[in-house]
Symmetry: D2
Subunit: 449 residues, 4 copies
Amino acid sequence: MNELRSFEPHPTRVIAPAQGPLGVLLPGMGAVATTLVAGVHLINKRFAKPYGSLTQMQEIERDDGTAVPIRELVPLAALDDLVFGGWDIFPDNAYQTACAAGVLSREMLAPVRKEMERLRPWPGVFDQTYVRNLHGTHVKTGPSKMHLAEALMRDTEGFLGEHGLQRAVMLWCGSTETYLQPSPVHETLEAFEEGLKRNAPEISPSMIYAYAALMQGIPFGNGAPNLAVDVPALMALAERRGVAIAGKDLKTGQTLMKTILAPGLKARMLGLNGWFSSNILGNRDGEVLDDPGSFRTKELSKSSVLDGILQPARYPDLYGNYYHKVRIEYYPPRGDAKEGWDNIDIFGWLGQSMQIKVDFLCKDSILAAPVALDLILLLDLAQRAGLGGIQDWLSFYFKSPMTDAGVPAEHDLFVQHERLMERLRSLSASALLDYPQASPYESTKTAGV
Amino acid sequence: MNELRSFEPHPTRVIAPAQGPLGVLLPGMGAVATTLVAGVHLINKRFAKPYGSLTQMQEIERDDGTAVPIRELVPLAALDDLVFGGWDIFPDNAYQTACAAGVLSREMLAPVRKEMERLRPWPGVFDQTYVRNLHGTHVKTGPSKMHLAEALMRDTEGFLGEHGLQRAVMLWCGSTETYLQPSPVHETLEAFEEGLKRNAPEISPSMIYAYAALMQGIPFGNGAPNLAVDVPALMALAERRGVAIAGKDLKTGQTLMKTILAPGLKARMLGLNGWFSSNILGNRDGEVLDDPGSFRTKELSKSSVLDGILQPARYPDLYGNYYHKVRIEYYPPRGDAKEGWDNIDIFGWLGQSMQIKVDFLCKDSILAAPVALDLILLLDLAQRAGLGGIQDWLSFYFKSPMTDAGVPAEHDLFVQHERLMERLRSLSASALLDYPQASPYESTKTAGV
Amino acid sequence: MNELRSFEPHPTRVIAPAQGPLGVLLPGMGAVATTLVAGVHLINKRFAKPYGSLTQMQEIERDDGTAVPIRELVPLAALDDLVFGGWDIFPDNAYQTACAAGVLSREMLAPVRKEMERLRPWPGVFDQTYVRNLHGTHVKTGPSKMHLAEALMRDTEGFLGEHGLQRAVMLWCGSTETYLQPSPVHETLEAFEEGLKRNAPEISPSMIYAYAALMQGIPFGNGAPNLAVDVPALMALAERRGVAIAGKDLKTGQTLMKTILAPGLKARMLGLNGWFSSNILGNRDGEVLDDPGSFRTKELSKSSVLDGILQPARYPDLYGNYYHKVRIEYYPPRGDAKEGWDNIDIFGWLGQSMQIKVDFLCKDSILAAPVALDLILLLDLAQRAGLGGIQDWLSFYFKSPMTDAGVPAEHDLFVQHERLMERLRSLSASALLDYPQASPYESTKTAGV
Amino acid sequence: MNELRSFEPHPTRVIAPAQGPLGVLLPGMGAVATTLVAGVHLINKRFAKPYGSLTQMQEIERDDGTAVPIRELVPLAALDDLVFGGWDIFPDNAYQTACAAGVLSREMLAPVRKEMERLRPWPGVFDQTYVRNLHGTHVKTGPSKMHLAEALMRDTEGFLGEHGLQRAVMLWCGSTETYLQPSPVHETLEAFEEGLKRNAPEISPSMIYAYAALMQGIPFGNGAPNLAVDVPALMALAERRGVAIAGKDLKTGQTLMKTILAPGLKARMLGLNGWFSSNILGNRDGEVLDDPGSFRTKELSKSSVLDGILQPARYPDLYGNYYHKVRIEYYPPRGDAKEGWDNIDIFGWLGQSMQIKVDFLCKDSILAAPVALDLILLLDLAQRAGLGGIQDWLSFYFKSPMTDAGVPAEHDLFVQHERLMERLRSLSASALLDYPQASPYESTKTAGV
């Protein structure tokens, strides 16, 4: 493998400038990925504004009290420096996939149709054992999982060369794999590589992608709840090679709402008897999660957030005995438009019960795309700043944030947000502040509002 | 008036200890006040726990990282040191009123029935001009508003003497008065006292109560949205005499939800097209707000929160053009059980619209009572700590927080919470930390859950 | 006026065949009218199917037990025989109006754009006194209301002549006028015509249209809740001339739901404590109803339905004491997409209370258009069958059905439906059954689903 | 068995008078049964009115146009003639069970506590194979299912003798058994009795109860969705012996709503893309249905109603392709208070989609009890009128109405209601109309409203 190029981490905390184009590698070019790609092109052409993206729109208060856009505080890659590539298990180009997904209308896609059509996925690494409800047709074959990993690296190598890229980020946008628990093969890099060679069933496709990325020094983010990079072997590899990693599971609809509401209940010391969450959705994601194995992976990701926020050990009278149930229901009439319905049974003064019901008519890919964009830009920033290993300051973006062993994950959206801001402020101190200051969106015509 | 006793503010920041009983003066002994009083008695008798009260249940992280209950950090009055008195425009005792309000069942009230029956309101200061939908029968009369103020002070004086009280706090729990704008009579203390003497129509009953409290050095909190103490004359009086004041309008159901959700939307840079809020409620509060004048007062209180949080000036693309509408509908079938229904039209990536609907089946008095309790205890604390004038660190508890002239109010629940915590931490530094450390609730049997 | 042509009613109950084209006259060419027109053209071109229309899709059980489509049972005008004309107070053609209304996408309108552009409204009869929130620019002027009526008749005359029409129907699709009570000027035709000449303020524009239609023997339906033809003078005129009339207020979203649910509650003897209905909508209709006068007209129309169904006099224990409140809120973010939110407080066995909440995310014009279509075809049928005066068998389609003096309106959707079916069965007996039997929609490509 | 008494059916259609007390036999004395029993006693003592019961409150229009209460039209047993007995697998008396169920407050139960305490269940026939989530402790044992059937008959015999009863009705109020399909053992009475003797696993406890009832000539109603009497062998037995039977599954919350709404959609020719129904409930019923086998039985019962109403074969464009999904979620915080949440995706004119969401905060036992009461009285009426076999005119009360082989079930609530009324009218013609005419409820004080 040493014939494949590998990026070297930066030795000091001086942030390398964001010079030149940035490769964006997307395993899984479905609704989320194509909504992201279409959006970036539309924004670059001034047809839209980057709503939902903190890196593009949010301001941060500096230590001196003044506010400044995040993208002026730290040196981020510019949106028109992004170059997209990716893998999928169906051969459709990004335009075809976007049309089929139905998230964006053809009318909205028209100005970027050409760019989208040009983006054709490489054959994916896939095994139906891990995603039972999909039947991929555009897949790599090889005698061992190690061979598949090498094939992925060759795809990347070609892509970097073709576009003259010096930097890249990989973000898993594929489907949720079936539930796997960490096992001995995930413990050490040696065991893992051994497993790749002997086709160990404990190694799922997303782990193969993560391994390939890390071996090439490419930061890896995980947008789904399956383990992928969240195993000791790969975390150690990321640490050793100084490669930034982050995960798991983009925080989009219902869980986003949960991590907003639960901190509010706790702030007011309102007790919780139960929280019932149902989701209906009809896209490929819904189809995949109709399989109990994939659902189990998702369910665990979604279930942990309440305990993390409410601290039952500290407040046993209020939060020691609540009933939390999460359901995801495949319901084709909705397509990508998801509906999250929550019923929350709370109690207050003198134990009197009250109910909160939240009905969130959301669009999964619309909520996910700007999160994906931010993660790509911030993982690239972390990498240039020499921050290897788990980026727990990115927990704001995840349903189930990765942390170092033994460290509990933070789920409170507002605490997560404050940690993100703090890290950006500290990074700005070491950054080369020669980044262009003019807002690139001033003369934008918005497409949507 | 100098024959009436007046408390003196403490000259230094050493917090005086919370020794002896604390008088609690409640203008308006309706559903909120009686739910508060019943609850305190039930808690003192170990029939209930103080859910919803930060002073009784919440822990705070100290500078050294350890967590400690708020009531152990700062010297608060103990619940069994509270002595209640109050005024109302109907002569029913607190037990009768609580039964009529229907917030708590007779079964739940049984153990404290005697204490409640003993609490009989003094005749109230009332004028139907200011609350058109009420018809008080138990009211004071007098040749001028100044005479009414003096009558209130005599009631207080008698109450303090009867119970041997050295300290008291007054919390307005009366109905929402009709909309009044600050006018010259409210500008200076001189003009105000002149107005009291000549029965100026700009002076509403709640202002008379506030004036009486301040003249006696008693901290005044305002649980409703009418001006009361929120006029320059009375703010100056509070400042000059070093009396703590706070307001306006207890943050209970829908607005509580709004100040939880809006910060979450902003954190994620999700845009807002509109927010429609409807409330249905059937209690006396609903009846009062069925009058356009009282509704106007409430509407203004409820409307300001979104702009305060979302910062349209900073984020014009996201929040520069949203439509915010608040409705309160009198609907008798519900009694004190309120229903707040919100529809929130948001937009995200590429301007795509999504909807959030929140249905909050809440109980107004259940949410208000612990807030009232905290305000009483914290105003007493502020007073003992020598903090006169507006206590803006209590904004956490209010829909429409009072601030010093020109200072914008903070509405974000989480920022408000952090400010409350910070102030408590700083007060603890100057407090005499000989407060009893044992939790008084450990062996409590809960009544409600 | 005798120089203007007037249709003669048919002397016997033999139904005249639906030969030749049918003129459709639409006062008010806004969202509803243009959605209707676009839909008819799209259906005729096989781009869509007539969902929501009973005359086009529903089957009816004949006395011999077999089922037959309504349109095969009775001789209705064919959709491709409809010729549209109309008035509006803005000069935009139907395509422009449809685009501005935003009910249908431009993509959907494309195949019928030409037909829509060709449809340009004649200047309307308008007076802002009756619709305060509109400011018409394309309006007729004249010395008296009688002159305006004659101008309308000349428009009609020209339209009939131009297209060679022998039959026409007029359906009011204009805005809701301010609340008017029947007064002496509405009592007799003489008083009414006198009023027209002296510009009596009790005569609103919709009455002028109704008068013009009746004078020309043209059936008149009223899609809005204002009186229009629902005054004794015009009812007598319709009766005398044998012209079919029907009204008021197309039954679309929330009221439709109410007249479905209430019969179900009554069938099961479930009691009612209260029914709260709120609507948010952002189209021109919402803007008009933001005026208290227009709202009052609408409120009355929407309020009567529950009593009519629940029979409080018969069931005083169950329905003698419920609280019914209807609100319509102008909320621009929604455009034509309306949201009706209902809270229903019911009680059952042992008086235990339960709640039903219905949230109807509907589209006003989509629900109204097929109702408008059916009314046009059925009024034409009634006219050909010699049925003059009020057509109370069409109550199925109205929020506030017109009836003969003293006869209570039927509101139960299922009873209304049965009456409609019964009348159609009885009409079929007298019809010339040489109507084409083949379904015209068999090979249709649907545009929408 | 011939030593056990068996009622003889009446040979002619002259209805025997409802003389003397009526035994009510309830297998399963849980929340529904005890709510029924408590209610009947409260009504008899004038503490409550029989809301929700058609036999007690509804009026019917006679052929001559006048309206008359149902209970005056046909000779029904009087409420104070009912004598209750029953079986359960837990030994608690009816008062203890009612308190544990929490449907009615202790305050409400107080006036009938003695009557309820006196009602102690006989040990039940139970086998956990059929209801996996229950663990009965108060159960009959015997060498064969035939022995268990005989034990049930002896219980009944003793009960009848003790109270001097000439008539009785049995209504299954037990839990939903696991899903069973009809099999050869259910085909003929011979095979069935053979199966009872050899303990055939295809025979569940509810079938044993049904067999016992029929053998004694006692009408049997089935309030749950399991087969019970709905097998050919028992239907034939009922037919042969002229015993009235009816089932299955009392129509209470969500399905009631569905059979109200779906006819409304069809009446208006609004198409259906999908209907998603979720239920959360925390009572014993919820616990039982948490088992996949019991849920399957319930799911089938709840799923059939839409097709039955919407007639997809007749209206393929509108109803040929909808997605219907029903979920029942055990959620303990709610107890007996159930919440049914429906999302309905409809389409109208030009295929435009709309959404209806219904949230029904209902109480299962409160909705079920009056249905149970009506069924008891009407089965007794049917029996006295000589109507043996399946009473399909009672379909109004069931989620999954039993019908004769090959006859499709009617699900439309309004058609069901009309059939019920028609049958009552025809029965009244043959009834001895010497029934007391005075309303027994006139001077009642209501307990609940």
